[in-house]
Subunit: 541 residues, 2 copies
Amino acid sequence: MIQNQKSKELIANWDTLQRIFIKPEDEASRKTLLKYMDQILFGLHDFLNTHVGVTEEISLKELTRDFKDTHINKDPEKKLTDVITDIIDKIAPRAVNVASPYFVGHMTSAMPFFMVHLKTIITALNQNVNKLETSKILSVIEKQILAKIHRLIFKKEESFYQNHVQSTDTSLGAFTAGGTTANLTALWVARNKLFLPEFNFEGIENEGIAKAMQEYSLERIVVLVPKRGHFSLKKAGGILGIGAKNIVPIDMDSDHRIDLENLKKTIKDLSNSKNTKIAAAVGIAGATETGLVDPLSEMAEICKENSIFFHVDAAWGGPVLLSEKYSPILKGIEKADSVTIDCHKQFYMPMTSGMIYFKDPLAMDQIAYHSNYVNRLGSVDIGIKTLEGSREANSLILDSALKIMGSRGYALLIDHGIKTTKEFAIEVHKRQIFEVITEPELNIITYRILPPDLKIKLKKASEGEKNEITNLVNEINIRVQRKQREQGQSFVSRTRFLLLGNGKTESVVLRCVIMNPMTDINILKEILDEQEEIFSKLNII
Amino acid sequence: MIQNQKSKELIANWDTLQRIFIKPEDEASRKTLLKYMDQILFGLHDFLNTHVGVTEEISLKELTRDFKDTHINKDPEKKLTDVITDIIDKIAPRAVNVASPYFVGHMTSAMPFFMVHLKTIITALNQNVNKLETSKILSVIEKQILAKIHRLIFKKEESFYQNHVQSTDTSLGAFTAGGTTANLTALWVARNKLFLPEFNFEGIENEGIAKAMQEYSLERIVVLVPKRGHFSLKKAGGILGIGAKNIVPIDMDSDHRIDLENLKKTIKDLSNSKNTKIAAAVGIAGATETGLVDPLSEMAEICKENSIFFHVDAAWGGPVLLSEKYSPILKGIEKADSVTIDCHKQFYMPMTSGMIYFKDPLAMDQIAYHSNYVNRLGSVDIGIKTLEGSREANSLILDSALKIMGSRGYALLIDHGIKTTKEFAIEVHKRQIFEVITEPELNIITYRILPPDLKIKLKKASEGEKNEITNLVNEINIRVQRKQREQGQSFVSRTRFLLLGNGKTESVVLRCVIMNPMTDINILKEILDEQEEIFSKLNII
């Protein structure tokens, strides 16, 4: 039995090594394996229950002290059971309890417990959906779930889906490592569609950007992105050779959504410069910082009029489509050319899994690559048209989760988050020292501490003074956020915006993402109470 | 208790939904959760034991028939227990049993059983190592294991690692979604290093390729890749705007490794054309198709002489560094500027996880991106310098596996694979109708069926006839490989090479990847027997 071996024996010879590959044949080792799983599921469970908010306060410097040895041991250091115990006793308490209802700072939260079971299944199957020869039915299931979500977004007719759901020639989308590579894939396709092959020119993918721009007599290609767009879009610009600088930020309106007049003006200005071409415009359905949704329908119309590829980054907001009550907020998403949705966000799946969808089932032909040993020309392998190579079957998790929860199950989660965030906004408004910065549309809110006296000062101040006061207010908010994080009871994040009437200095704001169904208004009130208390003890003013 | 609920009740109201988020408090539900895990681990175990090779023969068309419904159900379709049972009874038997010792066609194989446990742990913790605020100690562990592998590759002095292992300013590498994004990251850095900021030029990442090439008076940038390099390198060329065409293939020598003379000549030719710049040259440590290792040391010298960034794609071969016996094959890898290694290949980790390493701890500064809400300027978040955004803590799996196995445990696996592959080569040589194409250096072999009569014919044939005979031989090998795959007892893959003396037609070859420690020479003999039998029944000649 494995548990009774000394660690050296675990690998000392070939026989013991083989044993860790052979699945257990007898009842005793079966029990051992389950005992480990019990330890994992319920050891961690205790951690998740007893630690609230961000875990154990310990400085990074202190934390790193024990993790500086860079030698790999020749012999085993530990038995499996000790490794597991160590993780539960020493690692987990120093990880971040993202599942706590007091952890409302980032887009990571509690998951339904069955997600762990589903991930265990795909791990044990260890299929590689890159190619049919290492996935078979999993590739088929992946195509089906891609069609289901495509339908949720684009709502094409039944015959369209019957044609494409299992078609080996067309693609409705792809699973990706996450939202970043999903956005990258979208802009990759958009870039390539600008420079199709003609005459002796083999297309941008083959010839490169420099040649492509020469061929098309261009000097600059740009992508238009709302100022509050995710930084992966800028990164994509850099990677794709477009240039991060050419991911042109469009100003927000006073409502913190893309300013349509500004968008139109930018398009007009760029269209006048004859050596510039717009590869794509991006709308955000659930901005990372504010959760706000751009006017997608209007953006789609503007893009259509100007023949611009329209991408919607719905990494956060996409699953809102499952809510009958709130899906109208995403109206217009069906007019997009491509849409990003993350699975590990509001589909409540484990880290990490993203998806990219294209309205046109041939769009992904722009990024097809073949090889001799897999993904041969004419093969049905999914991996032909994906950025990533080998990929696990996360699609089976999403497929199973939708079967277990139904769209209504997800809708309950979505609706609860939005409802609770709106309640929270009312509470923030009620409290004197706070100011709501962005009213919640989905389940994210930004606000800040702005004591009444500073509020009045700010209003009366000259432009120069405004900057000074904003700096002071920022300092207050940074200190309170940090102190709260350090106290380890709860966690709210922070970011910074340029706010009207606050001078030219960006304002630090506090940010809550409310997706954990265990987070209720009472918990949020406690969080505000704590912030008030920390603020009252600051000797900054 | 969960198991006794009807599916509708599972989501019908808020209470039941909450229950799936709360971890089980009582003994009864604890037992239920474990029962599921039991079902998963041992239900799948039965599948893995009773199915050999590629599973149940069923045509793709037949397979897809039941997977065409594209509606998402409003209410739950199934209870969790039914979903799990379905996966075990209906899905798994139609998946591919990559864990079978008879499955020797691809780089996916059996894993030590504890890998499933470790993946379950990181799933339950659900940390996002992109940022410290959602990972804390896991970020620290990730930096440590990155340093351990960096040391394994580059063998720098102790003080170097003490400086960098936990440094928040420098990066020794990064975990990636897989080898493809690892290679992409390497070439991204290499591309950017060519066009550093100067005067009014802000660097290629910001300004884009077109502007960069203008600034540096270039018309073409190229990357030199051995003809047998992985197709992700070509894809990276396309994505990065270099152009897939400018990923210049260097011919192989008669030994199926990069032809150094050809490399030198290509560099010289390209250097003569003053508007062309070489961004990088790539050496392969374990080619996907043949497992062969390029002469890394010599390549490194050539690159050094010509000031060319040298990347080694050791996605496959990297872990051979853990074997005292075979690590000399990778000699010269320590001279590389960057190295790709996959975790889900010879580190025997679950799908998917890759790594990229840079010798220079500042190299990744070339691809740094910041945002306001995480990864702020000056922050210690790992995600600042990675291609991917959110990432799971796969690093904890590698760290734990090395502790459980020790480098010697891995070495046993590596050594067994290579030894068995060499035995297999001897067996193939012995059998009349076969021909070894590439003698194994690591644990991959290519060979083909070439009956003696055709062998003689081929030798004597004119150039035109050679093509004809090669086509016939190809047809034989394709049919045998397909039939064997369909028979479902075992699986060998196939690819195609241009072979000397075979005309201008590429030759189809059979390919075995021998990494499963359960695969021994007797199993391989059975596989050859089956191929002989299938061949004897072909009425093709």
